[in-house]
Amino acid sequence: MNKLKVTVNKESRQLIMEREFDANRELVWKAWTTPELLEKWWGPEHWLTTIHEMNFQPGGQWKYCMHEQGGQNMVSCGIATFKEIVAPEKMVYTDQFSDEQFTIAENMPTLEITNIFEDQGEKTKLVSSSTFASVEELEKVVAMGVEEGFSQQLERLDELFINLKSES
């Protein structure tokens, strides 16, 4: 597996993630922009991702929900709004948390994400930069993810118990 490199730049308030893929740029772009393909890889293990809307053009929105299968049956939804699209090399979008009716709650933090797809022949390097408004905003993002992270940990415990049971 290719390794993900993560760096944080406090001055520019950015989190930068870099990763190589063993596929040409057209394929990586296709996997990022085709709803049926996105649904296959976006959500965490044991979560079902449904894309409710994918209007892939500047100003267009991408609305999705992730449903936990089993466990606490939690739901996490989000809306991405595309700001800039240069196929197949660049996309800029904002990402926000929402409820299941796709209403964005007030005072919710927004992240702006820029994805650059670098053509390396049979490989593609993807550089993704997430910019947050301030550390205070970021605190809210972290707090939002707390419940989800917690449930995933519980799930891992469940799996552990199942494994232990089958071994004994």
């Binding site: 993560v6 893929f21 063993d22 596929a23 996997a31 296959k40 993704s128 707390v146 940990q153």
Partner: protein, 116 residues
């Protein structure tokens, strides 16, 4: 001043997943320092329950304790509350897994392209 920190045995997200503990952390962030009894007084739950929550927070190293005579004074452990660091760690976890799944989708796409 001597602060007692503990070995981290509970991760921050587990510690913060419980609403009362989130409130305690917020309270400490606002007030700076509070004794265990100050904290207890502000909640409807029993002192024993608050004391249990404080233990989890200590184990996560989110808070630190200073002993003054018979009193234990709690405050936020500023080193641990590096939101940026925690967030980066969390994003790394989320996206590593997400991109590993993307690898599999790309493998399938490559096979489809070849058989076209």
């Amino acid at each position: 001043m001597v602060y007692y920190t503990y070995m981290q045995t509970v991760d921050i997200f587990t510690a913060l997943a419980e609403p009362t503990r989130r409130d305690i952390v917020e309270m400490l962030a606002c007030h700076g320092e509070l004794s265990a009894s100050d904290i207890s007084r502000k909640f409807r739950v029993s002192a024993a329950a608050v004391s249990q929550h404080l233990k989890v927070l200590r184990d996560s190293e989110l808070v630190r304790v200073e002993k003054q005579a018979q009193r234990r004074i709690y405050s936020i452990n500023p080193q641990k509350l590096d939101v940026l660091e925690e967030w980066a760690e969390r994003m790394k976890q989320l996206w590593s897994e997400r991109y590993d799944r993307l690898d599999k989708v790309l493998e399938q796409l490559k096979i489809q392209e070849k058989t076209k």
